[in-house]
């Protein structure tokens, strides 16, 4: 293992399979030394590193299966307007639009609902019932999506149908409603944590100056919690766009562009629903099969970006603002 004896400057160090630019070779030296002392650390490290390995494997294999579709259609896989399985035509634009439409509708309801509830629970609710309410919301969050879908189908869709006088209630609106109910606990949970983490010194300072509770919340707590709330919204978006079963059961699943584009009473076919519905019939190795993996890749990359952004936002704002130099 010759590379353990290198000088202390920036050097390209060859590590099996990867070229790493090691900024501090001493650190790596120390790392391998400690591995010799406690071999168990290697096992622990591998378990932790496993997550990175899995993500890479995912990216690789999904891209691999989707490559056929991408080479056949190129960018048209994403912006093509027609998704006709029988004609081997796979343009996912209506599907992507369907996903975004349903999610946008859901978030429009869930964000104000969730953030206000989080503020209420963290700041207004008396201690005694706070834990009980939080547990209740946690239970809401654990209800599996298939149950939400089930309720959507037997109860919500018919209601929407009769309310708006359409024949079937499986439309974008119903999907948005169910998705909103499913997203709210996430938004409440994360926002609530952020809001509770606002140090009480700031609240005390404001109250001591004669501010009312609401003024304190508005002028001190919310500005501090702002970026955390934004992160919770992004996480909610990520969850919503990845939701499969519930939206599948109520969205209508027709690959059309709603006319006009804001018509929530039109059925839509979100990305996740397409994959779930068509994977069963797609022959392995066929173009359809590959196209579905292409959709999977789009979803993977989209949620990856959203989650990384949310992470970055939270890390940029230190939750506890230090006061002293």
């Amino acid at each position: 293992m010759d590379f353990l004896n290198f000088p202390t400057c920036t050097r390209r160090v060859q590590v099996p399979k990867l070229m790493l630019k090691v900024r501090n070779p001493q650190k790596m030296l120390h790392f391998f030394k400690s591995l010799k002392e406690e071999p168990i650390e290697a096992i622990l490290f591998l378990c932790a590193f496993f997550s990175i390995i899995i993500l890479f494997l995912m990216l690789f294999f999904i891209a691999k299966e989707g490559s056929q579709a991408f080479s056949t259609f190129g960018l048209d896989l994403i912006i093509g307007q027609r998704w006709e399985t029988n004609e081997n035509l796979f343009g996912a634009f209506p599907l992507i639009y369907g996903s975004i439409m349903v999610v946008a509708g859901a978030l429009a309801i869930a964000i104000p609902w969730g953030v206000v509830t989080a503020i209420f629970i963290a700041e207004v609710l008396p201690f005694s019932i706070r834990d009980f309410i939080k547990s209740l919301i946690e239970l809401l969050a654990s209800i599996p999506s298939i149950i939400y879908g089930f309720i959507g189908v037997i109860y919500l869709a018919p209601q929407v149908a009769s309310l708006f006088g359409i024949s079937f209630g499986t439309v974008a609106l119903t999907a948005s409603l169910i998705l909103a109910i499913m997203s709210v606990p996430t938004i409440i949970g994360v926002s609530g944590e952020i809001i509770s983490a606002v140090p009480k010194e700031y609240k005390e300072a404001a109250l001591a100056l004669g501010a009312t509770k609401w003024q304190t919340i508005k002028s001190v707590v919310i500005p501090i919690a702002k970026s955390g709330i934004l992160a919770s919204v992004m996480l909610g978006f990520g969850r919503a766009i990845g939701e499969t079963v519930a939206v599948l059961m109520v969205a209508g699943n027709t690959a059309v562009m709603p006319t006009p584009p804001w018509n929530f009473l039109s059925p839509v076919y979100p990305l996740t629903a397409v994959i779930a519905m068509q994977m069963g019939e797609a022959a392995v190795g066929s173009l359809e099969y590959s196209a579905l993996f292409g959709l999977g890749l789009i979803l993977f990359i989209l949620t990856f970006i959203v989650n990384t952004l949310a992470d970055v936002i939270v890390k940029r704002e230190p939750k506890i603002r230090g006061g002293k130099k």
Binding site: V124, L140, S142, I146, D311
Partner: protein
């Protein structure tokens, strides 16, 4: 005093969304309860071939236990590394972010990966084993995060006392820290099981079929599951027979059971461990 009354009105208005949450919960319970008549004890214990749902329940339990059996150890070890061993640096931050990203991958994408990697690449086919591995991916972030928190809450004084007596770092951690954190770890595994019990998209094409002859005799056979069955019956077969309501209810109860167990465990252990805030 008008400021006071203004505040009261404002806060009452602010409370409306929260009350709506509770109403939604009640609504869900109400809608589900309309089908409670379809639940009969013999439904749960009769084989599917005779109109019951026994194999589905067992299949779901098999999936749960297997996933917990894999995700549990890996998750705990990973969390121990992250809290006790990991140096502050780019690699640790990347691992941390990777865990968050893994948690955010849509379940259908995990199902796709599970199919192409576990079922096809590793040759497991549509099987219980493939289901275990796929569901592990979903459970892992929950177990890791929960264990991390549990370990962080153990006062480092415990570990330091052990170290001062001359044990190795690993011995100190495994004997003191982990056993003190055990309640929190158990809670997070239970939470993971709640998440996975109702999971449909991940098992859709990795481990389940509509009907099997009896229970799987090896992990390499496919399995029946409540969530899968419910899904296929409603979506593919387009029917809403009474039996489907029963399936939904059993699934609901199983998930709520695990979720409530996690909450109860958390409260119980908090009382028993006086060093927790």
């Amino acid at each position: 005093m008008t400021t006071r009354t203004k505040e009261t009105v404002l806060f009452t208005a602010l409370g409306v969304p929260m009350v709506t949450c509770l109403l939604v919960f009640l609504w869900i319970v109400f809608v589900l309860s309309t089908g409670i008549g379809t639940l009969r004890w013999d439904l749960l214990t009769t084989s599917v071939l005779q109109g019951g749902i026994f194999e589905m329940i067992v299949g779901t339990v098999y999936l749960l236990l297997g996933a917990a059996g894999i995700a549990g150890p890996i998750g705990v070890l990973a969390a121990i590394y992250l809290v006790e061993y990991a140096p502050h640096g780019k690699l640790t931050r990347t691992i941390d972010q990777a865990i968050n990203n893994l948690a955010g991958v849509p379940s259908i994408v995990i199902g796709l990966f599970g199919y192409t990697f576990f079922c096809r690449q590793l040759g497991l086919g549509i099987s219980l084993a493939a289901g275990w591995l796929t569901l592990t991916l979903m459970m892992l972030p929950i177990v890791i995060r929960g264990t991390e928190e549990a370990i962080k809450m153990v006062p480092s004084a415990f570990k330091e006392a052990a170290l001062a007596l001359g044990t190795t770092k690993w011995k100190a951690i495994s004997s003191m820290t982990v056993s003190s954190a055990a309640p929190g770890i158990i809670t997070s595994v239970v939470l993971g099981m709640a998440r996975v019990a109702g999971e449909t998209a991940a098992i859709l094409f990795t481990s389940c079929v509509l009907v099997t002859r009896g229970l799987p005799k090896s992990p390499f056979e496919p399995v029946m599951a409540l969530a899968y069955n419910l899904f296929v019956q409603i979506v593919a077969l387009g029917e809403l027979p009474e039996k489907v309501f029963g399936v939904a209810l059993v699934l609901f109860f199983i998930v709520i059971f695990f979720a409530t167990a996690a909450i109860v465990l958390r409260i119980y252990y908090r009382r028993r461990q006086p060093w927790l805030r």
